[in-house]
């Protein structure tokens, strides 16, 4: 397995009261699998994704990535790990407004920028004619596809997608998930969503309620 969470919890303080965003999560992410995390809004599915990806540190329990406990890593080391072996897609198609589609994709490349590889990937995602467009010149669906390319460009071991279809209509959402699944190659895909129809191609689905994994 690539990622293993054991009893991982994430709490926050709400006016002196401890609130669990995620409680005692025991989750494994295997190579080349499509793992869906399903749950209603506010159930803690995004928090679980942040824990697994090292974007948040577990309050208790452990997360092991590629044999290394990320709880013992410094903030800097966790960042490096993210850039090297993870890819991310967020709810909103966050792109840097002053960079072209091609340059936005190159951002997530941990090595020297490979313009040709980025251009090829964008072509596969039907954005071959929009390489030099700035984000404000692209539609919402196109922007999210650029984000997909950015997540895929470094051939990451795991791609984390946090409600990637939330800002898109259903057709565009389905297309984005399809492209993501098609082009992830050997990488695993961990996708959080509240829409079960987006997880049709998933190998496994975890259902989350009130911060707890209730069903696999």
């Amino acid at each position: 397995m690539i990622i293993q969470a054991r009893g991982a919890s994430l709490t926050y303080n709400d006016h002196g009261k401890t609130v669990y965003a995620c409680r005692d999560a025991n989750v494994e992410v295997h190579p080349n699998e499509f793992l869906g995390i399903l749950g209603p809004s506010g159930s803690g599915k995004s928090s679980l994704l942040y824990l697994l990806s090292g974007l948040k540190s577990a309050t208790s329990g452990s997360i092991v990535v590629d044999g290394q406990s990320i709880g013992r890593m410094s903030d800097e080391d966790r960042s490096r790990l993210r850039l090297k072996i993870f890819g991310f897609i967020f709810q909103q198609p966050f792109l840097l407004g002053y960079l072209t589609a091609l340059e936005n994709v190159a951002l997530a490349f941990s090595g020297p920028t490979d313009r040709d590889a980025a251009a090829k990937l964008l072509e596969h995602l039907h954005l071959g004619d929009k390489l030099d467009r700035l984000p404000h010149e692209l539609s919402g669906g196109e922007r999210q596809r650029v984000c997909v390319a950015r997540a895929l460009i470094g051939h990451p071991k795991v791609i984390f997608a946090d409600e990637p279809t939330a800002s898109l209509d259903h057709a565009n959402g389905v297309q984005v998930v399809k492209l993501l699944n098609q082009h992830r190659g050997e990488g695993s895909l961990v996708m959080v969503t509240h829409d079960p129809s987006m997880l049709e191609g998933a190998d496994r689905i975890l259902r989350i309620e009130d911060g707890c994994v209730v069903e696999e």
Binding site: L55, K56, R80, R82, F94, L96, Y98, L99, N104, D162
Partner: protein, 381 residues
């Protein structure tokens, strides 16, 4: 500057709408400080420039007692520490020249023809337009800067009965313009002796060269102390000017320090606003895997580039502005202004450093508790 998608050049050139105003503010600040200091420096520079002709001689006056003059000459001849090249007896008429801070006293020196030729030679003047004053005539010769400053040409009246600042019972006409950047006005000594009061001969003592002149000046300062003789040397003038502007420069330092503080606070606020607008960018990059250190270095790199550009453009703009001021305002009036005033340019150095320090502190503070999840979850967007 780094290029590439996250390079400094890329950011600065593609966000010109944000970076150009920052560069412009620093540029204007540097220009403002540089110009203030250069204009302030132009006053002592003007004093030194206008009276530089006295560098070549020691001036000793008899303090209102004409009988002292022969004694002064005797003392100089017998006790001077250097061999004197020449001693000249002259008469002076008071007048004024214009400066950026009002009228300054100047003298029209009455000389015999031989002495006038000697002084012209000492001042390195070999040519002039028109001619030198005739013996006993109400005529004067002036140098080019004086002509520009007082707007005089050959045939103009330098001294006259109607001139409050340069009185003479007859109209003293300009008959020659000396081709030199030294400020000088000469007339014939006989005209002064016959028409001006008091009847005091002033002694000009010349050493063979500037080095020995300096030695002579220092000696005279001490030798005539308490004596009935007033000593005037360029050395004294230089020292007095430095002392006179000492307090003024302290005030200038305080003004510049306040200006730098105000500009730094203002720029700190602007940089803070600018960074707030980039919170999504920072959050996204950190979420993707860029370390805080990388992001801080990147922002510091961009800020340094903005500061450096603003400062360099500021120096260039200052140079252009000082040249314009010199050409339009100073040169036509023969006022002194050094467009390469190193002190003025040096006064701008604290600006980029102060702003950079504030920027670094702001950036470090911002990233100290920065959580990229708050951005990707749109809590901070």
């Amino acid at each position: 500057m780094r290029s590439g998608p996250l390079g400094t050049r890329t950011y600065l050139s593609r966000n010109a709408g944000k970076t150009v105003p920052l560069v412009a503010v620093i540029m204007l600040a540097a220009m403002l400080i540089c110009s203030i200091v250069a204009l302030m420096n132009s006053i002592p520079l003007s004093i030194r420039t206008i009276y530089r002709y006295t560098e070549e001689s020691l001036v000793v006056g008899p303090r209102g007692d004409p009988t002292q003059t022969p004694r002064i000459v005797q003392k100089l001849n017998e006790e001077a520490p250097v061999k004197l090249d020449r001693i000249i007896l002259c008469r002076v008429v008071s007048t004024v020249v214009h400066s950026i801070v009002g009228k300054w006293p100047f003298t029209v020196v009455g000389l015999e023809k031989d002495d006038m030729m000697y002084i012209l030679k000492r001042q390195g003047i070999t040519s002039w337009s028109g001619r030198l004053p005739d013996d006993g005539a109400a005529e004067a010769v002036i140098s080019e800067p004086v002509a520009r400053n007082l707007n005089l040409k050959i045939g103009s009246t330098l001294l006259g009965p109607d001139k409050d600042d340069g009185y003479s019972p007859h109209n003293v006409k300009v008959v020659g313009i000396l081709h030199s950047d030294r400020w000088m006005m000469f007339t014939d000594v006989e005209y002064v002796r016959e028409n001006h009061f008091p009847p005091l001969d002033v002694v000009l003592a010349f050493a063979p060269d500037l080095k020995q002149q300096h030695k002579l000046d220092l000696w005279a300062d001490k030798a005539f102390k308490g004596d009935r003789a007033g000593v005037f040397t360029y050395e004294q003038l230089d020292r007095d000017t430095t002392q006179m502007f000492h307090i003024l420069y302290k005030i200038l330092d305080a003004v510049v320090a306040i200006l730098v503080m105000v500009i730094t606070i203002m720029m700190g606020m602007l940089i803070n606003i600018h960074q707030s607008q980039r919170i999504v960018e920072f959050g996204l990059l950190q979420a993707l895997g860029y370390t805080k250190k990388q992001l801080i270095y990147r922002v510091i790199g961009e800020t340094t580039a903005v500061m450096a550009l603003g400062w360099i453009f500021g120096l260039m703009a200052s140079y252009v502005l000082l040249n314009i001021l010199k050409r339009i305002l100073m040169d036509p009036n023969a006022f002194a202004l050094d467009v390469f005033d190193r002190m003025a340019y040096a006064y701008t150095i604290p600006i980029p450093f102060a702003i950079l320090l504030v920027a670094i502190a702001t950036v470090k503070q911002r990233f100290k508790r920065f959580d990229p999840v708050s951005v990707v979850e749109r809590r901070l967007v």
